[in-house]
């Protein structure tokens, strides 16, 4: 039994057999085995060669002569590699002498061969490295679980284990069978984590070296509430977790009952609960969970999901679909927030040394106007289909805001000239997620209809902490006095300017922070849809008077630790079953 600690990114408990997914350039980690396991591993190598050979033989037979004998030739050559005893012996010898797993031995031997080919000057020969990689993949597929590449066609429940997951991979998971997700890399705000949350799949990320401890088919427990993954748990642990999982599901069912009830405190203050979404399909889930609309529609997925830049029509169709689902309920569409990620980094000649402080989000848009205008046109075009608002992310100063607004008005003019209808009075707001925006909120408030506090980035930028970096992630907390002071400032400035204000960062989905936020004067929370019922329950269990008291106390405290433990205790008193 191996217990690994990571970051919990999507709540829930799952116990299932592991299915390992890896990306192509990923190296199988070296994992030692006991001398007594060698025979088993060697047998696994033999079976893998045999089964991969069988698979190839079927492919070869199925490939038509007519459609180019080249493909048939390739299969035939690969088949000979798989039937090459001296190749197989090299692999089993490595298992035997180095006490390593079958996967590691296969990967090491084949990559050595590929490297040998690669360094040849002759192109015909060096290109053969690709064939060797292909053979490696085919063998690993046998070893890592038969359905490894077939996540879309699962037939039994699994926990997906990977070094890193792309949002596209995660979005393709079949919720019926993928019961949990655990990955070495990733952070709470990584796209894969966001997707897991919106699909309601328990997930733990940032487990560092989990993949070195799991083999395909091992039993794995994913505890998405506490951020723990247990590999090959003993019977007692499994029983405990089954019990825990039952309790958790019961709580969920109880929460279901309040979905249609309003989010109102015991002393009658109404709170608006909105959903954060990524894909059009999720809008439905927000409504099912009792959300009053959408407070954050992330649009990055349009860019990450395809190889080409999305067209105006791509944008329009996705937004229109979402807006129609909402049937008149409000929706805030946030403009593209890319930057510190693959999409923009890959389009750069030299990757930025400091992407989080670099050309990201609104800055990227303001330098790529053609792309930005495409998105703005689509948002404006859907503005006539429902209660659509537009929001700019990562504003750091007034000039950026004015520039963004000017471009928005330009696009409105263009549409007007083309006689394309749009709502010229569309509500326009900004994310407050940098210390500079928070400190100048009084001035920014004059030019917008609403603020939405993005607590994730605000915390990261205020405390100078990358929470994906496990060496410093314990320093990351939205309950830090510095962050709370900024949040209070923003709320006060919004009230003074009489503009709307919401919180859409993760803080809004954490039950222990509800009382504090209400006490600070927040009346709109936008959060991941699976958490809506629980947060609503919390709101329905408190009085504003108590919340004000909590906020007053917290603002007098000077240590994050005190604040966090005070908030947890206060919340536990109100809603013990949530903790």
């Amino acid at each position: 039994m191996e217990i690994k600690k990571g970051i919990a990114v999507s709540p829930g408990i799952s116990i299932a057999k592991s299915l390992i997914i890896d990306s192509e350039d990923y190296r199988i980690p070296r994992r030692q085995i006991e001398p007594s396991q060698r025979l088993t591993e060697i047998q696994r190598v033999r079976n893998a060669f045999k089964d991969a050979g069988g698979e190839l033989a079927r492919l070869e037979a199925a490939s038509d002569h007519a459609e180019g004998s080249k493909i048939k030739d390739i299969f035939a050559v690969h088949l000979r590699y798989l039937r090459d005893r001296s190749l197989r012996k090299k692999v089993t010898d490595l298992v035997h002498t180095e006490f390593v797993t079958a996967e590691y031995a296969v990967s090491t031997v084949l990559r050595d061969i590929a490297a040998h080919f690669k360094k040849q000057d002759d192109a015909y020969i060096s290109e053969r490295a690709a064939d060797i990689y292909d053979i490696e993949r085919r063998l690993l597929k046998q070893l890592l679980g038969r359905k490894r590449e077939d996540v879309g066609h699962l037939t039994e429940e699994v926990v997906v284990v990977a070094r890193e997951l792309s949002p596209t991979q995660t979005a393709g998971f079949d919720r019926k069978f993928v019961k949990g997700i655990a990955s070495d890399a990733g952070g709470r705000t990584s796209h894969a984590a966001i997707v897991a949350r919106s699909l309601g799949i328990p997930a733990v990320v940032a487990l560092e070296d989990l993949t070195e401890y799991v083999l395909g088919g091992d039993t794995v427990i994913v505890d998405g509430n506490r951020g723990i993954v247990i590999v090959n748990p003993d019977d007692q642990t499994i029983r405990q977790y089954e019990e825990y999982s039952r309790e958790f599901i019961e709580l969920e069912h109880r929460l279901d009952a309040i979905r249609r009830e309003p989010a109102v405190t015991r002393d009658g203050t109404e709170v608006t609960l909105l959903g954060n979404i990524e894909f059009p399909d999720e809008a439905e889930i927000v409504l099912q969970k009792g959300g009053d609309g959408i407070g954050l529609y992330r649009t990055e997925f349009l860019y990450l999901n395809t190889d080409r830049e999305p067209t105006e029509q791509d944008h329009y169709e996705a937004y229109a679909k979402t807006v129609r689902v909402l049937a008149g309920k409000p929706i805030i569409i946030r403009t593209m927030d890319l930057g510190a990620d693959k999409y923009t980094q890959s389009k750069r000649f030299a990757p930025e040394p400091n992407p989080f402080l670099g050309l990201r989000s609104i800055r990227f848009c303001l330098q790529n106007l053609t792309m930005f205008k495409k998105q703005l046109r689509a948002i404006l075009r859907v503005s006539v289909l429902g209660d659509v608002k537009i929001m700019f992310p990562l504003i750091t100063n007034r000039q950026e805001l004015m520039q963004a607004k000017m471009i928005l008005y330009d696009v409105m003019e263009d549409l007007h000239e083309e006689s394309i209808p749009c709502n010229r009075d569309i509500d326009m707001g900004i994310m407050i997620e940098t210390p500079s925006a928070a400190l100048t909120a009084f001035s920014l408030a004059r030019d917008v209809d609403f603020f939405s506090i993005g607590t994730n980035d605000l915390t990261q930028y205020t405390l100078a902490v990358d929470r994906g970096n496990e060496l410093v992630s314990t320093l990351y907390s939205p309950a830090d006095p510095a962050v709370l002071r900024l949040i209070r400032t923003v709320i006060q400035d919004a009230h003074k300017a009489q503009i709307k204000l919401g919180v859409c960062g993760e803080m809004a989905s954490e039950p222990e922070h509800v009382m504090l936020l209400l006490g600070l004067g927040v009346r709109t929370l936008s959060l991941t849809s699976p958490m809506i019922p629980e947060i609503k329950q919390m709101i329905r269990s408190v009085t504003i008077r108590d919340c004000n008291e909590v906020a007053r106390k917290v603002l007098s405290m000077d240590s994050e630790r005190h604040i966090s433990s005070y908030l947890r205790n206060a919340a536990r008193k109100v809603l013990p079953e949530a903790f």
């Binding site: 050559v77 590699y81 090459d84 040998h116 080919f117 020969i125 053969r128």
Partner: protein, 106 residues
């Protein structure tokens, strides 16, 4: 990767020859496959050497790793009852048929 004859039987024939790769693309995928397939038809132990490395003619991995290009000379050595036939068959493939592949353009 030295090959060793496993049983030193009494009447063991040994035949050797030198072959030059003459097709333009050298011993790439398909030619390597043809070479190995022919070698595997015989019971003899067959080794191939490029002067530096000595490999088993029946292993596609080992043959490919010789990275023989057009113009490379290979020493083929067969030991066993059908050693002569094996060497002849391989010579035919390499030097007469050129793996049924194009020769370098002049």
């Amino acid at each position: 990767m030295e090959m060793q004859a496993e049983d030193d039987t009494l009447e063991k024939e040994v035949h050797e020859t030198e072959l030059e790769i003459k097709n333009a693309e050298g011993l790439h995928m398909r030619p390597a496959m043809q070479f190995v397939d022919i070698a595997n038809r015989f019971d003899s132990e067959i080794t191939v050497s490029n002067g530096e490395t000595n490999v088993d003619a029946k292993s596609i991995m080992q043959i490919s790793m010789l990275a023989a290009t057009c113009g490379t000379k290979l020493k083929v050595k067969a030991e066993g009852a059908d050693a002569r036939e094996a060497v002849d068959a391989l010579r035919e493939l390499v030097e007469e048929k050129h793996f049924d592949e194009p020769m370098p353009g002049r």
